[in-house]
């Protein structure tokens, strides 16, 4: 009996040791700073070095139209970017999972991965070189006689969307390939044999089967997009009006940490709400979806 108890105890110790790095990481680098930020967001400075608990930071968000306009715009554009990414990634994932064979399929995967060997900053600066007024693409348009003057392609909402889709593509393709590969081709053939056309097969067979993968990809891409700072700021310039930029401004430019912390929590609440809503709307369970990512 003591033999057994000792074995159980050492097994528990082993488990604790294995989990220790992850638990330390979570508690020290994520949970603790967030607790501190939460405390920050619920206080107000009434005099130098004098603070009182208050909801003033959250009140400012709702009374100042710029803040919640930017907030809403960020949410809508992120949702739009996620939808666009899904539309672009689906045919790519289908090609990799169902059409390409062996080496070809691996090669296509690598092609999707290659942009991520370069840092996001360099990639985005590359886009700027292509799109700015004196850049490659506007010059080409003039050269081909499509536009008389070089046009500024940077600093548009569409430019931000293109950049966000490009950055997010891989994170949508990976879960989609996983869920499409597990789809038995015989199911598609059976549906075809029973009289279904392409649209009905996609709607009735492929999408229901791939739903956990689609939801997983959408959650990841939405979170990445919502929290992205570099791409909207560089490609959208001053007009980008991205909510992370507001948070940055509060912390770094205005040195108003209380306001920045409140904004941070509002963004966290938004992404949580959107994920919850997305899961409800698609009828997926969180645990099933997470297994796909």
């Amino acid at each position: 009996m003591p033999e057994l108890a000792r074995a159980a105890w050492s097994r528990r110790l082993l488990l604790a040791l294995l989990l220790a790095p992850a638990l330390l990481w979570l508690s020290l680098l994520i949970v603790l700073p967030h607790l501190d930020l939460a405390l920050l967001s619920f206080r107000e400075r009434i005099a130098p070095r004098q603070f009182v608990p208050s909801l003033a930071q959250y009140r400012t968000f709702f009374t100042e139209p710029l803040y919640w306009h930017v907030f809403l715009r960020t949410a809508l554009m992120s949702a739009g970017a996620t939808a666009l990414t899904l539309l672009v990634a689906f045919p790519i994932a289908w090609t990799i999972a169902k059409l390409a064979r062996g080496r070809m399929s691996a090669l296509l995967f690598v092609v999707c991965l290659i942009p991520f060997w370069v840092s996001e900053t360099v990639r985005t600066l590359g886009w700027m070189i292509l799109l700015r007024e004196s850049g490659v693409l506007p010059q080409l348009l003039v050269h081909l006689g499509i536009t008389a003057q070089p046009v500024e392609l940077l600093y548009h909402d569409a430019t931000i969307l293109v950049g966000l889709v490009y950055t997010s593509l891989l994170f949508m393709v990976v879960p989609l390939v996983g869920s499409l590969e597990s789809l038995d081709n015989a199911l598609i053939e059976a549906a075809y044999d029973l009289g279904a056309k392409g649209g009905a097969i996609l709607r009735e067979i492929v999408i229901p089967h791939a739903a956990p993968g689609i939801t997983a990809g959408c959650i990841v891409v939405f979170m990445l997009t919502l929290g992205n700072y570099l791409t909207p700021t560089l490609l959208g310039g001053k007009n980008s009006l991205w909510f992370t930029e507001q948070i940055y401004n509060q912390f770094i430019t205005r040195f108003n940490w209380e306001q920045g912390a409140a904004f941070g929590f509002l963004l966290l609440a938004l992404s949580t709400a959107m994920v919850w809503f997305g899961l409800k709307a698609s009828g997926q369970r969180f645990s099933d979806v997470m297994r796909r990512t």
């Binding site: 038995d184 015989a186 053939e189 059976a190 044999d193 029973l194 009289g195 056309k197 009735e204 067979i205």
Partner: protein, 376 residues
Amino acid sequence: MSATASASSAPADLEARAVSKRFGAHLAVDNLSFAVARGSFFSILGPSGCGKTTLLRMIAGFIQPDGGSIAIGGRDMAGVGPNRRPVNMVFQQLALFPMMSVSENVAFGLARRGMARAERVRKAEAMLERVGLAGAGGKRTDELSGGQRQRVAIARSMVLEPTLLLLDEPLGALDLKLREHMKLELKQLQASFGTTFVYITHDQSEALVLSDHVGVMNHGHFEQLGTPQQLYYAPATPFVAGFVGNNNRVAGKALALEGALVQVGTAAGWSVRARAHGTIAVGSAVEAFIRPESAMLGRSAADFPPGQLAYTGEVLSLLFDGANSVVLLRELQSGQELRIALPQTGAYADLKVGDRIHFGFDPERAICFPAAAAHA
């Protein structure tokens, strides 16, 4: 090669004319022609890789033939997609839709035809009742047993009232007991629906039990097309003789001709008489096939009719399997090994390994082919 699978004058539901399909250097289906009469059960029997799956997929429309034509219900199917053919298929792994209930599975094809929901549900329920699954419509497909899943797959196709139902080795995934049961059920279902079934299998027993006509396929062409009885009692080629049912294959030379009979001698010096198939010259290489159940056993040489060759053998092993029991014998002089069915009377129930016993064959029930005709 051209043949019609029916002697009657019923119109053909399926007619293939000179159909060919090539994958690279491999000729999967070689200039194949046949017809299947309305309401009959037709099987394509062959070893794996013989081209039967390719043939079935061409009938279903998943692949296009390189040459020749396929007509279904009298209509040429060139350029008609699988979703527009009056043909449905029961897949090898059944391919039931796991994201749908049993009832939705059965109603899937009806929905694609634009049938109203209430009508669809009613028809699906009626079809489920017909295959003995009344009330199972609300279940998920993984809640069903193997046999029930089988019936859902058939119901899903039959509810569309196809001209032709294709079945791609649907019993392969079932265990032996259930397979025997489903064989019977499939035959009854076919009889009650009256639909033309085209069934592919590598299992000769399935083909013999189920079919009105069987095409034995090898290397992309039919070796023989006929009723199960014709295949069994009058095989047209050595391949059919070896593939359909059990057979003792004896390779040797033609020693002498006696009317329609050939005396076959093996290299080890054993000789047996068999009915000649085709023209056989004395001295040419031949192969003879002797069914295990066509042999007679005797306690003494006097048990055999005069004029019949009788041999003495030693029992190598006994394979007791009820009505299908056989004994493996070694002929004493030449060492030739033979498989002989034990009579069901139990007369030889006391036989032991090592016993000596006499045996002989009715030469009319053994068949001899010229060896050069062998395709395999």
